[in-house]
């Protein structure tokens, strides 16, 4: 397998404060990778650094092309869809407008219309509510909308920042099931940042554990889930 995303010696800064201290990892084409760690470990910062939303140094390559110094909006055009923390829903627009915004960089009108229908098939709740203001959806529905919006880009890689945050366990199961399906059926590689380590390790095939801005553990998700030492010292369950 070839590396889709290659990150080398990534260091990120918020003002004078350094949040990432030389992070290196890579993502295989078609993989579903999770990035685990406690609060403040630097998971969100890593995703933000990939999309150049925070000042960083180091090398980030996507399909062999460097992403450094590209603007956030141009990185999207490489086929990287980022669902940010808090979902980034356009709350005062309708569900359908949110989906259209996901495809705003595309020019194939017919394809966009077809993809919106495809999203409604994945998430029937969204079809029911397609004229409704997105802000009136429940938390779970908004997360579904965020994932659907990201898929509208027809991305090669999807970055998800704590999709389980604030959702009921049943809804999270549902959502993760869909993410697995998207990864298999649509051949979208996924990098998901999670605090809910147990669930993320069930879903993912590769895992990285990060602590205070450094990778402290990496490997096959199943192995990490089975390693009691790792679980106790880093994942807390």
């Amino acid at each position: 397998m070839t590396a889709l995303l290659n990150v080398k010696d990534l260091r990120a800064y918020y003002g004078q404060v350094q949040a990432l201290h030389g992070l290196s990892f890579s993502l295989n084409e078609g993989s579903l990778t999770t990035l685990l760690g406690a609060n403040g470990a630097g998971k969100t910062t890593t995703l933000r650094a990939i999309c150049n939303m925070v000042r960083s140094t180091g090398a980030i390559e996507f399909e062999g092309k460097p992403l450094n110094n590209k603007s956030t909006e141009s990185i999207v055009r490489f086929g990287i869809a980022h669902v940010p923390q808090g979902r980034g829903t356009f709350t005062n627009m309708t569900v359908e407008e949110n989906l259209q915004l996901g495809a705003i960089t595309r020019n194939d009108k017919a394809g966009i219309v077809a993809d919106i229908e495809r999203m409604y098939a994945y998430f029937p709740k969204l079809k029911e509510r397609h004229t409704q203001q997105a802000g009136t959806l429940s938390g779970g529905e908004q997360q579904m909308l965020a994932v659907a919006r990201a898929l509208m880009l027809r991305p090669r890689l999807m970055l998800l920042d704590e999709p389980s945050f604030g959702l009921a366990p049943l809804v999270v199961r549902d959502l993760f099931g869909i993410l697995g399906k998207i990864n298999r059926d649509e051949k979208v590689s996924i990098l998901v940042v999670e605090q809910n380590a147990q669930l993320a390790l069930e879903l993912a095939d590769q895992a990285y554990v990060i602590e205070t801005g450094r990778i402290v553990m990496s490997g096959v998700a199943k192995d990490i889930a089975n390693d009691e030492n790792v679980r106790k010292s880093y994942l807390g369950y």
């Binding site: 939303m53 909006e73 999207v76 869809a81 980034g88 709350t91 407008e97 705003i104 429940s138």
Partner: protein, 292 residues
């Protein structure tokens, strides 16, 4: 009763101009969260450009269209040169930028065209509209052009992809960037459109207030009043606010003793303050339904 109808209709006609100015103000406010104090001066300068073009022999509508294009490009240029570098500057720096822009444009207009009052033509004539004594053809034209503009803008923002992208960039810049929208250019586009809308207001009101570098001062204050009344976050509210302020201004001038022409402007300012005290978000200010 005829006096009343007459005053209301005249109010709607000037209200259309205030609506345009309010719309221009709201457009930039949505994009950068600041009131553009120089909006009126930009409109005045555009109006002078159209006047100059007509002096050089261009027919009215050709000058009108050329001025729209000039204003659109000029608005974008102002944003790129002056306000893009100030994006992250503190609010007072931005205010200073607006005031600088105000006086630069005002002085330039004075320098190029001097401060004497000039006649400005109307393409509609000033005869009674459809034989009615209530409203003149120019007033009817002001209302008509404004309504056309509003319908056009509505379709632009509701049904075009650029309109959707502009709304997204104004609502949530970070999310907009994450779907691939170049928010910086959307702001520039907002400036261009605001400048063009303002130029329409200027060209339509110039036959009434006459052309001179300070012609838009009062109009802009009414525009602000309209925007505040309707809600700075609501383009629809700003337009309705414009019409309401226009009507209110005329009725107050007619029926409240001692108000007359001199006291009309303080009334607009009193209106701004009352709205800010009683309903700070304005009549149609954003009330986002939000679920936490």
């Amino acid at each position: 009763m005829e006096l009343f109808t007459n005053q209301v209709l005249a109010g709607i006609a000037t209200g259309a101009i205030y609506a345009c100015m309010a719309l221009a103000v709201v457009m930039i406010y949505q994009a950068i969260d600041h009131l553009n104090f120089a909006q009126g001066e930009m409109a005045m300068f555009s109006t002078f450009i159209s006047w100059q073009l007509m002096q050089w022999g261009l027919p009215y509508w050709a000058a009108f269209i050329a001025t729209l294009i000039f204003s659109f490009i000029g608005g974008i240029a102002i944003e790129r040169v002056l306000f893009k570098p100030l994006t992250k500057a503190p609010i007072l720096t931005q205010v200073a930028g607006f005031i600088a822009l105000f006086s630069i444009i005002n002085s330039c207009a004075g320098l190029i065209w001097d401060f004497t009052i000039k006649q400005y033509p109307t393409p509609f004539g000033s005869s009674p509209f459809l034989g009615s004594q209530l409203i003149s053809t120019h007033q009817a034209g002001m209302i008509g052009i404004t309504l056309l503009l509003l319908v056009g803008l509505y379709f632009f923002f509701q049904y075009t992809r650029v309109g959707l992208a502009m709304r997204a960039a104004a609502a949530l810049p970070e999310s907009a960037r994450l779907v691939g929208i170049n928010t910086s250019w959307m702001i520039a586009l907002g400036w261009g459109m605001a400048a063009a809308i303002g130029s329409i207001a200027g060209m339509l009101i110039a036959p009434v207030v006459f052309l001179e570098p300070n012609m838009m001062g009062g109009v802009l204050i009414y525009g602000f009043a309209a925007a505040v009344l309707g809600g700075l976050t609501s383009p629809f509210g700003a337009v309705l606010g414009g019409f309401l302020v226009g009507i209110f201004e005329n009725l107050a001038g007619t029926y409240i003793p001692h108000v007359g022409n001199e006291m009309k402007l303080p009334i607009a300012l009193a209106l701004i303050i009352s709205v800010l005290v009683i309903k700070p978000a304005g009549l149609f200010g954003r009330n986002i339904v939000k679920r936490v």
